[in-house]
C-alpha cells in the first residue's frame, strides 16, 4: 500500500493526462474526436473489468451484459416522450411516461446494473476459477436472450434508436477518469489486497485469516457499476444500438485490451486500450484493400480480428502478465524516485503480543482417512502457551496431515480439536487465525507476486474493519522486524531465497498476533547459520511473547535443542512422547527411524 500522498499523485497524473488528451481531441474534432470518445469508453469498460478479473484472477466474459443492461435502461429513461410513443408503443406504464435528464438516468441505470450484479454475484462468487468464468459466459448469453425477448422495452433484436446523443468528449473523459480512479483505489484498498492475496494462493490466504466471499462480491458489483457507466456513455454516444453490440464480438475486443495490457493494473488497462485501439485503427484501413507501394492489397475480411488474435497469442507466449506487467507505473517509479521507506516510524514489537488469553490446545484422537488409507490414526496431542512441542517421525508418518487438521486446513475424519473449552474442528479455515492459531506450510505458500510487506500486511489486516488499519500496519512492521526482513520488505516474494521465503511465511503468521504458531519444516532449505538464527528467534517468541509453538522438522539436532516436549508419529500412530532425551532413547522410536535390526544390534 502506498502512503496517501503518493496515491494522490498516482491518481492525479492519469486524470490530467486524460483531460489533456480530451482537450487535444476536442480541438482536433471530427474523426479524431469520435475515435477518442470510443477509446475513453472502452478504457472505462476495461478498467471496470480489470477491477474484478485483475484482483480476483477470475476472467469474466459476462461484463458486457452489464454494459448492455445499463445502455438500454438509461436509453429508455432519456428517450424523448414522442419518440417513445412511436417506437415503443407497448412500454409498461411506469416507463412510458418517465423522462429523465442524462445524469439522473445514468445514475439510475448504473444502480440498476449493480443490483443485477449483486444478484448474479451471489451465485458466481460460489464458484471457483474456470467454473466461475464459464458462469459469466452463461450470464452473457442469458442477459442477451432477455434483452432480445423483452421487445416491448428493447425493440428486441432490432435497432433501438433515437437516444439523445449526450456523450461528447468531456463526458467520455469524465467517465473514464472515474473508472481509473475507482479501479486504482480498489486495488490498494484492504478488500483489494485480500483478493490479490487469495488470487496468488487461496489456501495460504485462508490460513492467514483472509476470507474473500464478501470481497469478491464487492469487486463484482463495483466492476459492474463501472462497466455500466461505459454502457450508458456508449448508448448516448451511438444514439442507436442493438443487443449485438453487447455480445461476443465486443467482448472479444475488450478482453483483448484487458489481457494485452495486463489485467492486474490500471496501467495495464491504459496500455492495453491504447495498443488495441492503435492496431485496430491501422488494420481497419488495410481491411478494405489498399494500395501499398504500388501493389493493390486484396480485401481481407476480419483482418482486425486476426490481428488482435495474434497479438493476444504473442502476449500469452512471451509476456503472460501483459505488456504493463503486474506493477502500476507509479509503483515502479516512486520508490526509486523518492526513496520512501514504508517502514519508517517507531517499531514497537510489543504489538505482537497475543491480545486474547488462550486455553490449552487439545487434539483428541484425531483420525484422517484418504479413501481407505488411514493417514493419521487416533492421535492425541496438546500444546500450551509458552512451550515448544516438536512433532517428528519418518516420511509419510502423518505429521503434516495432523498439522493440517489442527490448523483447520483439512477436515478431520473423526476426533476433535479443542481450544480451552471451545471445540474448533469443523470451523472454516479462515476462522482459525482469529482464534489465535497461525501456521506456515511445508511447500512454501507465499503470495508470490506481492511484495514481502504486502504478504505480511494482508495477514495482519485479517481483522479489518474491526481493527483499524494503523494497528495492522504496526503489527506487520513489527513482524517484519522480528524476522529481520525489514530491508527486504519492498521485494517481490518470489524473488527471495528459499530461507528468506520461509522467514516471510513465519512473519506472515506472526502478523496475525497468534497464541499458537505451527511451523511445518521451517528450517528446510536453510543452512546451519540460518537455522541457528531461526532457533534463536523461535526461543524468543516463546519467552518474550509466550507463544505455544508446534514444530515439524526432520532436523533432529534442531528438535532436540529447541523443544520442551517431543511427540513421535509412525505410520499415522503416536508411538512416543516426552522430553527430547526420553524420546531419543525410546526403543519404539529407534525402531521406527532405523528399523528393527539396528535396534537389536544396539540393544545387544
Amino acid at each position: 500500500m502506498l502512503p496517501r500522498r503518493f496515491l494522490t499523485f498516482s491518481l492525479l497524473v492519469p486524470t490530467l493526462l486524460v483531460f489533456a488528451t480530451a482537450a487535444l481531441a476536442s480541438t482536433a474534432g471530427g474523426g479524431v474526436e469520435r475515435m477518442m470518445i470510443v477509446f475513453f469508453i472502452s478504457l472505462t469498460a476495461v478498467a471496470g473489468m480489470g477491477l474484478y478479473s485483475g484482483n480476483s484472477g477470475i476472467l469474466s466474459f459476462g461484463h458486457l451484459s452489464f454494459m448492455g443492461l445499463a445502455a438500454y435502461a438509461s436509453a429508455v429513461l432519456t428517450l424523448p416522450l414522442q419518440m417513445k410513443k412511436l417506437t415503443l408503443p407497448n412500454l409498461p406504464a411506469f416507463l412510458a411516461d418517465a423522462h429523465f435528464d442524462f445524469l439522473p438516468a445514468m445514475i439510475l441505470a448504473v444502480l440498476f446494473a449493480m443490483a443485477v450484479a449483486l444478484l448474479t454475484g451471489l451465485i458466481i462468487s460460489r464458484l471457483e476459477g474456470s467454473a466461475a468464468t464459464i458462469a459469466t459466459l452463461a450470464l452473457l448469453i442469458i442477459v442477451h436472450g432477455v434483452i432480445i425477448g423483452a421487445r416491448d422495452i428493447t425493440r428486441g433484436s432490432q435497432s433501438f434508436f433515437g437516444v439523445p446523443r449526450e456523450t461528447g468528449i468531456w463526458v467520455a473523459a469524465t467517465v473514464c477518469i472515474i473508472a481509473l480512479v475507482v479501479t486504482r483505489l480498489f486495488r490498494d484498498s484492504v478488500p483489494g489486497l485480500r483478493l490479490r492475496a487469495s488470487r496468488e494462493d487461496p489456501i495460504a490466504a485462508g490460513a492467514s485469516g483472509i476470507g474473500i466471499k464478501r470481497e469478491r462480491l464487492l469487486a463484482w458489483v463495483l466492476s459492474a457499476g463501472l462497466v455500466a457507466l461505459a454502457g450508458v456513455a456508449l448508448g448516448h454516444f451511438l444514439g442507436a444500438f442493438s443487443p449485438k453490440k453487447f455480445y461476443f464480438v465486443d467482448t472479444f475486443a475488450l478482453l483483448a485490451m484487458l489481457i494485452v495490457g495486463g489485467m492486474t493494473t490500471m496501467t495495464g488497462a491504459v496500455v492495453g486500450a491504447v495498443t488495441i485501439t492503435v492496431v485496430t485503427e491501422v488494420l481497419r484501413r488495410l481491411e478494405g484493400g489498399v494500395q501499398l507501394l504500388g501493389i493493390q492489397l486484396p480485401e481481407v475480411f476480419g483482418l482486425t480480428q486476426i490481428g488482435i488474435g495474434l497479438i493476444i497469442l504473442l502476449v500469452m507466449f512471451k509476456q503472460r502478465e501483459g505488456l504493463a506487467g503486474i506493477d502500476e507505473w507509479d509503483e515502479r517509479i516512486l520508490p526509486r524516485l523518492l526513496k520512501f521507506n514504508s517502514n519508517a516510524g517507531q517499531i514497537n514489537t510489543s504489538v505482537l503480543e497475543p491480545t486474547r488469553s488462550a486455553g490449552t490446545l487439545k487434539a483428541d484422537s484425531l483420525t484422517k482417512r484418504f479413501s481407505g488409507l488411514v493417514a493419521v490414526d487416533q492421535v492425541s496431542v496438546s500444546l500450551r502457551p509458552g512451550e515448544i512441542l516438536g512433532l517428528i517421525g519418518p516420511n509419510g508418518s502423518g505429521k503434516t496431515t495432523l498439522l493440517n487438521m489442527i490448523s483447520g486446513v483439512l477436515p478431520v475424519s473423526s476426533g476433535g480439536v479443542r481450544l480451552g473449552e471451545k471445540i474448533i474442528s469443523g470451523l472454516p479455515v479462515h476462522r482459525f487465525s482469529g482464534l489465535g492459531i497461525a501456521r506456515t506450510f511445508q511447500n512454501i505458500r507465499l503470495f508470490e507476486r506481492l511484495s514481502v510487506r504486502q504478504n505480511v500486511l494482508a495477514a495482519a489486516l485479517s481483522n479489518w474493519p474491526r481493527e483499524p488499519v494503523s494497528q495492522a500496519q504496526a503489527r506487520a512492521t513489527a513482524a517484519l522486524d522480528w524476522m529481520e526482513l525489514t530491508d527486504k520488505a519492498q521485494l517481490k516474494a518470489d524473488t527471495l531465497s528459499y530461507g528468506d521465503q520461509r522467514r516471510v511465511e513465519i512473519a506472515r503468521a506472526l502478523a496475525l498476533g497468534p497464541n499458537y504458531l505451527f511451523l511445518d519444516e521451517p528450517a528446510a532449505g536453510m543452512n546451519r547459520e540460518e537455522t541457528d538464527a531461526l532457533m534463536q528467534i523461535l526461543r524468543r517468541l516463546r519467552d518474550e511473547l509466550g507463544l505455544g509453538i508446534l514444530i515439524v522438522d526432520h532436523d533432529l539436532p534442531l528438535i532436540v535443542s529447541l523443544c520442551d516436549r517431543v511427540t513421535v508419529l509412525n505410520e499415522g500412530q503416536l508411538i512416543a512422547e516426552g522430553t527430547p532425551e526420553e524420546v531419543q532413547s525410546d526403543p519404539a522410536v529407534i525402531t521406527a527411524y532405523l528399523g528393527r535390526k539396528h535396534r537389536e544390534e544396539n540393544v545387544a
Binding site: 451465485i123 460460489r126 421487445r151 475480411f301 495474434l310 493476444i312 497469442l313 500469452m316
Partner: protein, 298 residues
Amino acid sequence: MLDLILQQTINAVALGGTYALLALGLAIVFSIMGMINFAHGELMTISGYTLMYCGLAGVPFVISAPLAILAAAGAAVMMERVAFRPVRNASAATMLVTSFAVAAILQILFQNLIAKRSKPVMIPDVLSESIAFGDFLIGINKLLAIATTIAMLLFLNWFLKRTDVGIAMRAAAEDFPIAQLMGVQANAVIAGAFALSGMLAGVAAVLWVSQRASVDPLMGFVPVLKAFIAAILGGLGSLTGAVAGGFMLGFIEIYLTAFLPEHLLEFKEPIGLGIVVLMLLWRPNGLIPAAAIGSQKV
C-alpha cells in the same frame, strides 16, 4: 400426450448425447491440463467442412464421416502443438485466453478461405428418413445419434480403463507431476488427450451436420458454448459429470421448447440457463464433482 413426451425424450437423448460428447472432449483436456479449450467448437467446424468437401468430391458418407472425425482429431493435436504447448502449466486464465484467440483466428480464416455464409452438405437420403414404431416416427438421424453416443461412451470407458494410454491419461488427470515421475510422458499424454477430445468433437460434428445438412464458419460456436455449460453443470474435469451434464442440458432444452407456453418461448434460452444456474446453486461443484477437488495437496 404420452406420445409427445416419448417423442421429445428421444429428441432430448439425441441432442443431449451430442452435448455429452462435446463436454466429454472438453473434460478430458481439462482434467489433464486444467485448460478450457475455447477452440473446441472450431474442431467441429473443421469436421463439418471436411464432410462438405468430401460430399462435393463424391466421396460416400461411410468414408467421409471417419475422415471428418480424423480431421478434427488431427487438427486438435496440431492446435496443441502450435498454440497450447507454449502456455502449458500457465494459469487457467492464460490458457483460456490463448484458446479464445485461436478460436477467433480460425473463425476468420474459415470466413475468408472457405465461405462467409452457410454451405450445404450432402447427406445420404436414408438419414433423413424415419422409422415407424407403432404410432410414432423416429428419424434415422436421431437413432444414429443415440446409437453413436452409446457406442462412443462404451469405447471411451474401455479405452480409459483398459489401454495403457488410457490409464496413463487417468493417472495424469489425478496427479500429473507424480504420473510423470512414474514414467508417463507429458507430451504423449497431452497429445493423446487432444486427439481423443478432437475425435469426440468430430463425432459430434458428424451427428450435428447429419441433422442439419449445412455448415457455416461459426457452426461449432453455439454447441460448444452449451458444452461448456454442460461441463460445469456436471462438474468441471469430471468425465461422468460431463456426460450427465450434457444429457441434462439436452433434456432441459428440448422439454422447454416442447412444453413452454408460446409467449415464453422467446425466453427459452435464458430460462434454460437459469435452471442450470439454480442447479449449480444447489451443487456448486456440479452434479458429479471431479475427485481431485478437495484432495488437493497442501
